[in-house]
């Protein structure tokens, strides 16, 4: 099976994003913390955009309950998410540099895995883990951006999902209230919508458009 050359894929991106923008995107490193509905979709968007390097972090395995909204295949149930997503991304965007860490991030180890990233994407499902990562990134790395999410469950309006810039390095996407723990299920299209907010925000930051 032949695939397009790196040069031809790069040229296709330059034609759409512009040479200067693509140069920045191709030089950027983004860490994605959590490879569920948000993280796997953000990863696919960024890989398609020709991001330079992705650091993918998760400890979990693909489960049948993930398949409706996460970028895995039925045949990958049981595999580590880090490895399954890396395999899928390599089919989509073979020249993106992908680094995986099969680990559960916590307040003590997060800095070790995030130090190479320009931008950190918070894509956990657990609210306490989200708060932990926000505190960790914003307190320990004065030069990194954090693009986090909160509230994307259910069949609520697409237009309730927004992105706010909380402070110069802290962006937050979501409706801020639809909690999966309130018995509202996660719906693929709305989760992807929130992931698209985050992926697009990340690309805008990379090319220097830091407003929202």
């Amino acid at each position: 099976m032949s695939i397009p050359s790196e040069d031809s894929m790069h040229a296709a991106l330059v034609a759409r994003h512009g040479e200067q923008n693509q140069k920045k995107i191709s030089a950027a490193t983004v860490a994605i913390c959590g490879l569920g509905g948000i993280g796997s979709n953000v990863a696919v968007s960024l890989a398609r955009a020709g991001i330079g390097r992705l650091i993918l972090i998760d400890f979990d395995r693909v489960d049948v309950t993930n398949l409706h909204r996460q970028q895995y295949k039925a045949a990958q149930v049981g595999q580590l998410k880090t490895q399954a997503l890396r395999d899928n991304l390599r089919e989509i965007a073979p020249y993106v540099d992908i680094c995986v860490h099969n680990v559960k991030l916590d307040a003590d180890n997060a800095a070790d895995y995030l130090s190479d990233a320009d931008i950190v994407c918070e894509a956990f499902d657990n609210a306490e883990c989200k708060a932990m990562l926000a505190e960790c990134v914003l307190a320990q790395f004065k030069d990194k951006y954090l693009v986090a999410c909160s509230g994307m469950a259910g069949f609520g309006s697409v237009n309730a999902i927004t992105t706010r810039r909380i402070s110069p390095r802290f962006y937050l996407s979501g409706d801020l209230k639809s909690d999966v723990n309130d018995g509202i299920g996660l719906v693929s299209s709305r989760v992807m919508l929130c992931a698209a907010h985050q992926a697009h925000t990340i690309l805008r930051i990379i090319i220097g458009l830091t407003d929202v």
Binding site: G34, G36, G37, I38, G39, A123, F124, D125, N126, A127, E128, K130, A131, A134, E135, L138, A139, A148, C149, S150, G151, M152, A153, I166, S167, P168, F170, L172, G174, L176, K177, S178, D179, V180, N181, I184, L186, V191
Partner: protein, 64 residues
Amino acid sequence: MIKVNQNYVDAAGKTLAEYLGTTSYDIKRIAVEINGQIVPKAEYAGTLLKDGDVVEVVSFVGGG
């Protein structure tokens, strides 16, 4: 007065921990910035709110 999430609150002189104790926030699920700077949870009790402070309390919900 201080400003919390765009609303004026009479909490100057309290510590951040004291102020949060008057609210329904679940401490484990929040991240707090004062004047654009993150405040680690370990510093809530020792952080005094001053007149004019701008506080953002980000309360996370589950799902991702």
